[in-house]
Symmetry: C2
Subunit: 349 residues, 2 copies
């Protein structure tokens, strides 16, 4: 028997909210077992929407919140004036124990700011980070930070390694994920001092982490390691570069497939295979970034997502709660603090 859990939902966040959010909940309620939703937003708008998805009503409680945090709102003003917003209230529901996780497709900066103030960081974590999975040649990897911290020192990166490793176990389901630090070369002497120092700490400290040393940009797609650790500036640019390149490829492939009657015929024969292929690269399959390092599971769905992407992001929230993600991080951090710094065997790579 699966224990029931509750996810609090920002009903008004995202380009296609609230319709997309409610449709996503309906889709998720058919797929996920034992999950209830606490849906925050304008009750007059949400009520008929929930009613229109038969059956959703029994898993979904609507809570009125009059305000909306828009995409162009600055984090500081969201913090100051957002207390009656659907986002703020959905986060507070986790802090108050009403929900075990929250999800929003709204303003990332505001979500980060409010969640950090309301949920606070886990003891031992100085800054939360944004983590997300992406497709690789070997399957799936997770990268962090993806934009929460523009500058990171070695200690931040080591904490990201601990959190990323726990994330890979919970979400990708790997027993012993490998961890790499993103750099511009695999030699020990290359790169910024922060990444060199982080690597040397990860190499010497006695943590239950399989540290594989440095990885480079092309290792992301190869899936050389399961967890890629980097600062938020580099991680954000690397992920968006990869997503952009994949889109460009699809664009050129479409051109090639529709160039002539003969290529169109060829494309027809390839349809099922290409469908599977494009699903592998569909960003909706990988929707759901987590704000890791906070006392509570807090998931950011893509701002432009649809019901399918939103329901996948909800699945990430549920997996993290059921895998006791935050407890596992706390255990690792405890061993990080108590660990005697003595050389480990050589790096895996």
């Amino acid at each position: 028997l699966i224990e029931r859990l509750t996810v609090s939902v920002d009903g008004m966040g995202g380009d296609n909210a609230p319709e997309m959010v409610v449709a996503g909940l309906a889709r998720a309620s058919q797929k996920l077992e034992g999950v209830d939703f606490l849906l925050f937003g304008d009750v007059e708008v949400l009520d008929p929407l929930v009613a229109s998805h038969g059956g959703l009503g029994s898993f979904c409680t609507i809570r009125h919140s009059p305000d909306i945090i828009t995409n162009d709102m600055k984090p500081t003003s969201a913090l100051r004036s957002g207390r009656e917003s659907s986002m703020y209230k959905a986060i507070s529901a986790v802090a108050e124990g009403e929900a075990q996780a929250m999800i929003s497709a709204g303003n990332t900066g505001a979500l980060m700011a409010i969640a950090t103030i309301v949920l606070r960081t886990i003891p031992g974590i100085s800054r939360p980070a944004i983590a997300k999975c992406f497709p690789t040649q070997r399957g799936e990897s997770v990268m962090l930070d993806l934009g929460a911290n523009v500058e990171c020192d070695a200690d931040n990166l080591v904490q990201f390694a601990v959190m990323g490793e726990a994330y890979a176990r919970n979400i990708i389901g790997l027993k012993q994920p490998t961890v790499g630090v993103l750099n511009i070369g695999v030699e020990d002497l290359k790169g910024r001092s922060s990444v060199r120092e982080a690597a040397s700490i990860l190499q010497t400290i006695d943590l239950p982490i399989k540290f594989a040393g440095f990885v480079e940009g092309d290792d992301l797609a190869k899936g050389t390691v399961d967890v890629i650790v980097t600062d938020g500036f580099t991680g954000n640019i690397a992920l968006k570069t990869a997503e952009g390149t994949a889109k460009l490829f699809v664009h050129f492939l479409r051109q090639a497939l529709t160039a002539s009657p003969m290529t169109k015929l060829g494309a027809m024969l390839l349809k099922p295979a290409l469908k599977k292929f494009s699903r592998q690269f569909d960003p909706r399959t990988y929707d759901g970034a987590m704000l890791v390092g906070l006392n509570g599971v807090c998931i950011k769905a893509h701002g432009g997502t649809d019901a399918l992407g939103f329901s996948n992001a909800l699945g990430v929230a549920v997996d993290l709660v059921r895998g006791n993600f935050n407890d596992r991080i706390k255990e690792d951090l405890a061993s990080l603090v108590s660990a005697p710094v003595e050389p480990k065997a050589a790096a895996v790579r």
Copy 2:
């Protein structure tokens, strides 16, 4: 009538040297008009190789240099003990006016170190950078720095903008290239202080540059701007991430095309279209990174390149010499120094 020019060539640099280098020269000599080669390396090895490519001999002079700078050599030791190497001598030929450009597929760090010492930076440029073109949805863009400078301040980035703009005019052939600074958001308040400061200088200074503000990772593939300015850490990782993603895509596409007899038939019908498609993404088409900011044209071909890639990189060298690339940068820098800092009209973007 085209004026003859000479390119000095490191005959021993690169994974497939010297065979690949000589084959690349042979290919280039059939394509490029009025270009002579000064080929440095082991004369006993190079002599028969050049002789085996009929006709190359009349465009190619071999100069003996006994030493080779290997890929695992550190820049400092290459500088100290590399004076009799093919790389060092090919660079010196440019400094001494024997050649107008040099090319090597060897050790990047060593090339950077030796070229900086031997050729020196252009007055007004504090650090050289590595620049390279890549394919986009709109055609081609150039990005710099790609790894020469791990940390960059605002002044470095502004100088990169000047050099990148001149590069785009010379190599892509654009009349008025647009320039963007890579960041994690397009809003003025986002990102590192160095990129914010660089953008504000580029926005206010009176330079003949079409500055388009900030761009993000996915703008690389879109081709939103013609010149992407960034530090060497981020640029290196972004370019390798894009290349890796393209390779992953090819891998999955090949899987899809060979999945069944029916897909194989479809793939056969698509063959010519897919060939054109894969040429668009062939890294050899874009081989030839330039060390910009030095008194002399210095081109780095990919370490693992072949004759086709090497001859394309040679074409980049020739285009930069014929376009008076360095003179144009000096002019821009002169106007940068004398320019009164007064607000320009709003950014293009």
